[in-house]
Symmetry: C2
Subunit: 171 residues, 2 copies
């Protein structure tokens, strides 16, 4: 396995080719929906594309504003239905602590993950963190708890922003 090409292991650097990043995500989405026999309709694709505009968490009503030029009839329900579908298919994540959404960089693979949410640049990074998941599984077994879903969200400052403010304060 070429780890350099694994999106989960690729750092979210300024230099990353976002164009490529997006088209990969959309291609994967189309392929997945095809395989599963579910419809990635125009609206759903538009919402997914808008979410992938960047790696920041985006709010539902922000999406509504952004989609209006394309779908002038769009209403809250339009967005929430598309979001529900995309979450069901594992194409995006809901960020509970922000009431916001972000594109999933490892769609298709069953995955549980940490979300690292930067308060400064607002970007969200996913980490598979197998060790973390392992210890959580142990803890849950000890507690006799049957998992349905996990939300593991860390807020703070990402490496990129930390470096930046470091270099700024030293000038």
């Amino acid at each position: 396995m070429n780890t350099l090409r694994d999106p989960l292991l690729m750092p979210l650097t300024a230099e990353h080719n976002h164009q490529q990043c997006v088209s990969r995500a959309l291609n994967t989405a189309e392929q997945l929906c095809l395989n599963r026999g579910v419809q990635l309709t125009a609206i759903r694709l538009q919402v997914l594309s808008l979410i992938w505009a960047d790696h920041k968490a985006v709010k539902a009503y922000e999406l509504l504003d952004r989609i209006k030029p394309l779908q002038s009839a769009a209403k809250p329900a339009t967005i929430y239905r598309a979001l529900d579908f995309l979450i069901e298919q594992g194409l995006i994540h809901r960020i509970e602590s922000l009431n916001a959404f972000v594109g999933c960089r490892c769609s298709g693979q069953p995955h549980e993950l940490l979300l690292l949410i930067c308060k400064q640049c607002e970007e969200v990074e996913e980490r598979a963190a197998l060790e973390v998941m392992h210890t959580i599984a142990n803890e849950l077994t000890a507690a006799h708890f049957i998992v349905h879903s996990k939300a593991i969200e860390i807020q703070g400052i990402c490496g990129k922003c930390a470096l930046q403010s470091l270099s700024e304060s030293s000038t």
Copy 2:
């Protein structure tokens, strides 16, 4: 250290003496606020007591309804201010994935924890889970991420409910 008396290690069983559980929490809260020189005012204490009515997650507007008989003038802001205070003092937790709140069973001790949220009985259990926190810390170091806050919320079925439905289905 007598682990049987550590609230974090005490299972949330049906038999637990809730009266004692609540008075312990309220006493701790009063003591803590006294030590810190902050005021546990009537409203704040009422909200805390209402949250401690049981171990279930409770919504802000539910609290508003519950407090109305005591404070007929109560408005959303009344509740949210009290909640903000209680969270700041570490006396309750906000559950991001439910937009709800629950009493903290280990107030005063600085603590990061897992919240295990049962979808059936709606009770919330806290687990200190030091190993989990340790692996998360490692993961964050690897990601060069500076933590401000964590939300680790697991939804599923608690041991008590799992046992119950097991014994029910076997009759």
